[in-house]
Amino acid sequence: MIETHYNSETKQRIERAIQVLETVSDPEIPVLSVLDLGVIRQMKIVNQLLHVDITPTYSGCPAMKVIELSVEAALLEAGLGPVQIHTVIDPAWTTDWISEEGQRKLREYGIAPPNTAERIARLKGDAPRIACPRCGSEDTVCVSEFGSTACKAFYKCKSCLEPFDYFKCH
């Protein structure tokens, strides 16, 4: 997804940029880096300018502006400027772009990661089974389709009785 077929100097700059972006976190789910979240779509260097394409998770997500600023600041701080950030909406972001690493981090953080079984269940008109991130039980119930941020729904586990966030399929 991130282009690296360049001469060695350019390649090095992009590789360093990737390392830097691994340390830039999502302001609302700080365990995820912007790379885990899958919002960085492309980086390339044209005439010494480092172009970074970022795609919004949800079109009104208030974290996007913060993410853009943190990405730019982190790259400049690492001496990788000049930088130009572009917002792209096509193709539209999907939770399928959250890395496996990201899924693991979400679960450890107490958020049930997006589940493709949900998508299939919805297609069939069944209620999706979302496993509790604390005890693993699938005996859970959706309290609200909308949670504390645009990307999450709110669930409750009937086995351990803990409430939890579910990163909904999108």
């Binding site: 919004p56 079109s59 009104g60 309290v143 609200s144 389709e145 909308f146 645009a150």
Partner: protein
């Protein structure tokens, strides 16, 4: 080729509708009937403002007259807003808010689906992004129609009342404005007759499941798309535009 002013007007109809419904929904912030629904409605508001921004940004580029997305959103007068009348109808109560949302979602879910294959690629991308969100909104609003309609005696009565009162604002959705006719001819927008059919199908099936009656009245309001609004819009704009008017060029 689609005339640019048709495309521009089309963007405004849907950007304004999105902005105004967003403003209405956000009025619920801190006043929702329960915390989860307070959050649901503000989440809907956020998605709508995001969509409005994408459409205003495109409109601003099409117009190419130096008016920014903020100027389009906040510095026009009432007669220049082209939103659907339904969007400006006051929240009234939870049943009205759910019904208003349901009527709009049942339209946008099919419009956006069709537009995501539009010959205008920029519009297609915006529609595709918004469609995913609207599918989620539609699920919320249609679920609540059924829950309230097929709920208690009081919830049934309240939502039936909302359906009856809001019905006269639904016909306008499918009365194409000049720009919409132009876009249909150019194959950029879908046929409104088709959209009307699928809207009625959705509404019939949800109302039936909700044990609600479809109103028989055929008299319909119109005017939103040409800037002739109900008395409610002026008050909404006064509040929404206050900061930009009082502090021109205000930025975050």
């Amino acid at each position: 080729m689609i005339p640019k002013d048709h495309l521009f007007d089309f963007m405004l109809i849907h950007a304004d509708t999105s902005l105004i419904i967003s403003q209405r929904l956000s009025e619920w912030c801190g006043h929702g009937p329960v915390l989860e629904q307070d959050m649901a409605m503000t989440n809907l508001a956020l998605d709508h403002i995001g969509r409005a921004r994408l459409l205003y940004q495109y409109a601003s580029e099409l117009e190419n007259a130096g008016r920014s997305e903020d100027e389009l959103a906040f510095l026009r007068d009432e007669l220049d807003y082209k939103n659907l009348l339904l969007a400006e109808y006051p929240n009234t109560d939870f049943a009205f808010t759910v019904t208003r949302q349901f009527f709009l979602d049942a339209f946008y879910i099919d419009l956006l689906d069709k537009l995501s294959g539009s010959a205008d690629s920029r519009l297609a991308h915006i529609a595709n992004k918004s469609l995913k969100e609207t599918q989620y909104h539609y699920k919320w609003s249609s679920d609540w129609m059924i829950r309230l309609g097929d709920g208690t005696e009081i919830s049934h009565e309240k939502v039936q009342n909302a359906v009856d009162r809001l019905w006269e604002y639904t016909g306008e959705i499918f009365q194409p404005a000049e720009c919409e006719l132009g876009m249909m001819e150019a194959g950029v927008a879908p046929s409104y007759e088709e959209l009307s059919d699928s809207w009625h199908q959705r509404v019939n099936s949800v109302l039936a499941e909700a044990t609600l009656k479809k109103p028989q009245s055929t008299w319909q309001q119109k005017g939103g798309k040409t800037g002739h609004h109900t008395e409610h819009l002026g008050y909404l704009l006064a509040e929404m535009q206050y900061m930009q008017r009082a502090y021109p060029g205000l930025d975050w």
